[in-house]
Subunit: 388 residues, 2 copies
């Protein structure tokens, strides 16, 4: 059995496809990570109940309405929708995992949805590309990766889609990603793959360091391809390397779609005393509006970065040991600016699309990094002009 895809309209958006149903081959393994937001949406709560006991057979995603902050009515709507769908698909309600993305705080147009599902035939003849479009909300472009890699002489297929534009969508429950591999791996290894890949990718892109009410990342191993022995470490490592690239590519598409973004900013902290201190500094720098506007203005304004670093509480370091690099050019050392800090080489480098801030704290051996976008007038325009 193969992975099957159906894009459809269920009456949330006008005419355009606003839903996708994935039929997962029997024997697939599925691993899922969802938002820790306390106001988690109805589908997040629904999935958490079901994923423990049952192997999912379908993933059903709708865009346009997040079904978040919708209370009992929202959850009851989801149950109606699940019941209708399970009847159509001839499965149990709890064999479907649900994902919603779109506006927060509005009830689903439930009669329209039930009616649309009822009428739909589910031939499962859509492409991944059409699915990538159906899950878009304010995304400016669809986000899809499809590739084949070779392990020995055998091909492995990795494919995935995602949606979102960082955490910067207006009142939208933001990020969803679905990645499929066609080889069979054990559930425990699948979980580890997902967690490792997320921690290096989706958990390292952010505008303000939090998850919205609906964020979810799903990894499915379908087992359609049984020609490769995935119990071998060498094959596992190869798969992990490639999957990491896929996750990275997808997550970067989200940053690139960030509203009004003109630059990709990577913040890299090294030689911290602990990983958590490194991470805290990364976020502090990456989320500083003064830093983000300087990057937008192509201004090598290291003073803002240093002032921010010094203001973060509970970070152990000696100011004299701090080294700060902008686009790999050393700008601050021994408590004072270097001669390069005002160089034309540095100024010129700020015109690049990809900007790197690297900090060496001189306190230990731990590090962390994060990728974000600049803060632009267009960002403010989009997010203030939007009316809820």
């Amino acid at each position: 059995m193969k992975l099957k895809i159906q894009s459809l309209n269920i009456g949330i958006k006008n005419k355009k496809d606003d839903a996708v149903c994935f039929e997962i081959p029997r024997g697939s393994k599925t691993s899922i990570v969802s938002t820790k937001n306390k106001f988690a949406a109805a589908p997040i709560i629904f999935n958490k109940k079901n994923i423990k006991n049952i192997k999912p057979r379908y993933l059903f995603i709708n865009s346009g309405n997040a079904n978040a902050c919708t209370g009992k009515e929202g959850y009851s709507n989801l149950k109606k929708y699940a019941k209708k769908l399970s009847g159509k698909l001839n499965c149990e309600d709890n064999e479907i995992l649900f994902f919603s993305t779109g506006i927060i705080g509005e009830q689903l147009p439930i009669s329209k949805i039930l009616n649309s599902i009822d009428k739909h035939k589910f031939p499962f003849n859509s492409s991944l590309s059409s699915a990538s479009r159906a899950i878009m909300t304010t995304d400016k472009f669809p986000k899809i990766v499809q590739k084949r890699i070779k392990i020995l002489d055998q091909e492995i297929k990795i494919q995935g889609i995602c949606k979102g534009a960082g955490m910067i969508e207006p009142n939208m429950a933001t990020m969803l990603a679905f990645v499929f591999i066609d080889v069979a791996v054990k559930q425990r290894f699948l979980r580890k793959l997902l967690m490792d890949c997320i921690s290096e990718t989706f958990n390292k892109i952010s505008v303000d360091g939090d998850m919205s009410t609906n964020d979810s990342v799903v990894l499915v191993s379908t087992g359609e391809n049984n020609k490769i022995d995935m119990s071998k470490t060498i094959n596992q490592n190869r798969l992990k390397r490639e999957l990491l690239i896929t996750f990275k590519d997808l997550s970067l598409m989200i940053i690139k779609d960030g509203e009004g973004a003109t630059k990709i900013l990577e913040v890299d902290v090294k030689n911290a005393l602990s990983p958590s201190q490194a991470k805290k500094l990364c976020y502090a720098i990456a989320n500083s509006n003064l830093v983000k506007t300087a990057i937008y203005g192509e201004d090598p304004n290291w003073g803002r970065i240093i002032a921010k670093i010094g203001s973060v509480e509970n970070i152990d370091f000696d100011v004299k040991k701090v080294k700060l690099y902008l686009n790999k050019i050393l700008v601050f050392k021994s408590g004072i600016a270097t001669s390069d800090a005002k160089s034309s080489k540095l100024k010129k480098s700020m015109k690049q699309r990809n900007i790197i801030i690297s900090l060496s704290l001189g306190a230990g051996e731990k590090g962390s990094s994060i990728i974000t976008a600049d803060l632009t007038k267009k960002y403010v325009h989009i997010n203030s002009a939007y009316t809820s």
Copy 2:
């Protein structure tokens, strides 16, 4: 002896006054709170050494150059400048407290400064108003409070100046405040007054919750007025109430001067389990770009606020008990929007200059609040157009 003031030019700015010297009457008591930023400027380090052992006789402030991130040379420059000044003023170097505000990372024009101080006569005949202008950097207006309050039949004089525009100045070391009371109080009570007033005012205004490299607040009790018995609790309480208002007025002027700000946003968290959880939530909401742009757009976008609240880690509450008010109108309760959340009354209220977000967590009895400004296109413009 009375408080004496001299504004002057010491060669940092072109012609305009760029320095102020306060001569504090003998017998004055001085209390000072300075930035915790690890990259504290040279004057901050200098003052910390001296305030312990000596009673300051002068406060000397320069604007235009922060003398921060200037290393050994910056500190040595400050010592030269202190020596020259103490010679002129006939005191010890360490009887002068120094404050600098302005650009980070540039050395002081030390020969110009020494030369200017040398030539200056120090007649101490300036007004507080001229001092309030001399300490400005990118401030759009001078910030001054002068008032007399009555305790029994006697008048007390409270006067103060400050400078800064939140934490949002471009590459500037930002906030300085100097407040003088003419009555004599004990050092310990003065300290308590300062700390209590700061925690309710200057520590509750912020754009990103940190202090820059030079921030300082100074409170001086000069003792010129000895007609009131300040050992009486009733008089102390009256003084404290009035001083709190003065600090609040000064700190609000800073927010109002925030670059590009069009709205004053107050975030008020109640019924949290602990003060620290309440404070953490206040900052998270107040520093959210999505919230700040919604306020700018006059959009009652409660979904962004709720999503932010839910994403903050380690806050104890039950989502069903959360109540959210926008301009005192209940918009979210029992996990769902109220009917008022889309009302025209609410929309209209967003046009006010002062916006209040009030959150009741239903978890305990602790609270916190913070005042900030909105995030505007002008903010991005100013902070990206600035070139270091």
